[in-house]
Amino acid sequence: MSKDETLGEALRQQGISRRGFLKFCAATASMMALPPSMVPAIAAALEKARRPSVIWLSFQECTGCTESLTRSHSPTVEGLIFDVISLDYHHTLQAASGTAAEAARETAIEENYGKYLLIVDGSIPTANPGYSTIAGVSNVDMLKEVAKGAAAIVAVGSCAAFGGIPHAHPNPTGAVSVSDLVKDKPIINVPGCPPIPVVISGVLLHYLTFGAIPELDSLSRPKAYYGQSIHDRCYRRPFYDKGLFAEGFDDEGAKKGWCLYKLGCKGPTTYNACATTKWNAGTSFPIESGHPCLGCSEPDFWDGGGFYKALSMPTEDISRTAVYAIGAGAAAGVALGALNRAKKAKATKAHEKVTINDLEKGN
């Protein structure tokens, strides 16, 4: 497969029909909330797109993001798209190893300087660079080196986007996100633990189609996928609105499929496409399987105070502090009240009868 082949040519070689390709383009357009009129534009752009060079760096991660992407539903059009981008460096997927692998990375940087796409999964340790190294190069150094020549960076997974589980309290490795270290490149965060496969491929497609990064929210997440909360699109939302909640995992409410808010569902504060795109080729998503949303695509989800604590409950055990505070508040209130009563009683005592002779001002 030549690097100069266009995506259209490559797809036809893979046995993908024009019809299948257009269907994919239409699905992509609707997923990205683009109007139907954009479908031909997407198709045209993708037909002509040169396969861009992609360098994938994995740092402090569990490979879950890669697993999510590769294992999802294959063989699908999304999977093939990944075959046809020029994935020049990826630990898990590349055939080369050792010096040859690193040479491939260096060659890709050199040949496509300023044009390649950098994908990162995993957080970067800063407490001691030695905590995570690849071929003797620390994660921090490698990220900085590869980022320098990248056109854009996609931070895949909550670790790369927000620090993720390595960043969770007490964060022994000093883990940080890509955006904490790289300030001068466009960064797209695609958080999730892991992110939904089609969300990863959709973001890449957008970049290929329009040659620009998609519209992002305040956390640099593509609005097309992270624009709405799980709660707002949840099929259990009507139960929430009616005040019907499951109180335990095996109670009547749980069996009837009522809202999982009281069981700690983070849907109301989590922005992701799970409730609409779903997982495993559109089979279901956690809430549909009876488990509350963990909020994995939000920053610091691991430190949210317990997955099974309702959002309305305080995140930390404050009972003792609360008792003292209430006690102190009540004591201060009683004391102030007594002072005020004494003052008012004094004023009442000092009251002199006002008669019609007292209305004029004396000298």
Binding site: L336, K343, A350, K353, T355, I356, D358, L359, K361, G362
Partner: protein
């Protein structure tokens, strides 16, 4: 003992109670009360914002009854209220506030601003910052028995005149009568027809009543100036006379603040419940109507509207009764745009009418009533407060509007069934 700043501040401290404290601490400074006040809407001057009229009282509350206020005062960070300041506020508290209570209606956190103005006046009066006109009225009320200086002989003359005109006996000091009628000086001097109207209606309904020679005055200057002792003394006179004559009820006449004073503030002022009930004349007439004891014939063909006296409607709750009565005798009754509990004040209540200094601002504020009237263009205005009537007439004259202002009681009496004066008035 003369009035002084010290006495005034002491009175403020004394007047601040739980409602006042909660009102001040709940105020969110939204400014909605500004557009509820006719003195603000007609002048556009922000100093007439109702809650701003309470600023000295608020400072006394803050400096004496709040933690941070005490703290700031101890560190010298907040100024004490001065005599000059109270002098500056005198016109805001007395001249440009009729205690109509419209601001209390719109407050989103439920602050009763009129209630606080009433309390603030206690301190203002004790500090010697009450208007001359109200001081004089209060002195006359206590010494002569009427804020306008009306003495018993004047009433007796009007009674004789009414008896000649109607041929009906006006009962005076009749022990055991069902009701004792109070009158405002305004009615005795300017609208004596009211006495005849009552006599006719109550005769038809078969209600026994009397006037007390020892306590015929309904108004209460003590409440307007803000001196509870004077107010209580005036209420005591009415209560003593009613108890002496062993009446079952006391009728508050067509006067706004008189009703509020005797009906709502009275028992609190004297510190004990009454042995009789108090009704506004509108309430009594509507009861009689319901019982079928009040019958009318004929209807006014002219376009009539009803001006709600603030203390009777908004502060007193008598809203439906006058409308029931007016519908008996009016063919074409139209409501003003804002009416009932949201009616706009005539501009002369709450002691403003006794305070000549306020004439200019009062007439300016009347423009609000003019706008209301312009919207419906009635032939005549009916009201149930003689003070409202006098100052509606005054305002209409100022703005060159030709429109009679009628008494609802008198209008009903004119249409009373079975009397010579029946028939439609042209």
């Amino acid at each position: 003992m003369s009035a002084s700043l010290q006495r005034g501040i002491n009175a403020f401290k004394e007047q601040i109670d739980a409602p006042v404290a909660s009102f001040f601490s709940s105020c969110v400074r939204c400014g909605l009360c500004a557009n509820a006040c006719l003195f603000h809407t007609e002048t556009g001057d922000p100093k007439y914002t109702p809650i701003h009229k309470l600023e000295p009282l608020r400072r006394v509350w803050q400096q004496n009854y709040t933690f941070w206020g005490r703290f700031a005062k101890a560190l010298g960070l907040s100024r004490a209220v001065t005599d000059d300041e109270l002098g500056e506020w005198e016109t805001l508290v007395y001249d440009s506030c009729t205690m109509c209570g419209r601001c209390s209606m719109v407050c989103p956190v439920g602050n009763d601003i009129a209630y606080m103005i009433r309390k603030m006046r206690e301190g203002m009066a004790a500090a010697g910052h009450a208007p001359e006109g109200l001081i004089g009225a209060s002195q006359r009320a206590v010494t002569i028995g009427s804020p306008m200086g009306v003495k018993l002989p004047a009433l007796q003359a009007q009674i004789r005149h009414t008896e000649q005109e109607t041929g009906l006996k006006i009962p005076v000091d009749v022990e055991g009568a069902e009701y004792m009628l109070l009158l405002s000086s305004m009615e005795i001097m300017n609208f004596p027809e009211f006495i005849g109207a009552i006599a006719k209606i109550l005769k038809q309904a078969g209600v026994s009543w009397t006037i007390a020679s020892e306590a015929f005055e309904a108004t209460n200057s003590g409440i307007q100036i803000g001196v509870s002792e004077i107010a209580a003394e005036l209420v005591e006179r009415v209560v003593a006379a009613a108890e002496k004559l062993k009446v079952k009820g006391v009728i508050s006449p067509e006067c706004g603040h008189a009703y509020m004073a005797i009906r709502w503030e009275g028992p609190n002022l004297i510190g004990r419940p009454y042995s009789f009930r108090v009704v506004h004349i509108m309430e009594l007439l509507d009861e009689l109507r319901e019982q079928g004891r009040l019958k009318t014939t004929g209807k006014e063909s002219q376009r009539l509207t009803y001006h709600d006296p603030c203390q009777v409607a908004r502060r007193g709750g008598v809203v439906k009764q006058p409308r029931n009565l007016l519908n008996m005798v009016a063919e074409d009754f139209v409501e003003m745009p804002e009416t009932g509990t949201m009616n706009w004040c005539c501009g002369a209540g709450g002691g403003v009418s006794a305070n000549e200094r306020a004439d200019e601002i009062r007439l300016k504020a009347f423009n609000r009533k003019k706008k209301q009237l312009d919207a419906i263009r009635p032939d005549a205005i009916v009201s149930a407060c003689s003070n409202c009537r006098i100052y509606l007439e005054d305002g209409l004259e100022e703005y060159g509007m030709d429109m009679p202002v009628l008494s609802l009681t008198e209008t009903i009496a004119e249409h009373l069934a079975g009397t010579e004066q029946t028939g439609s008035k042209e």
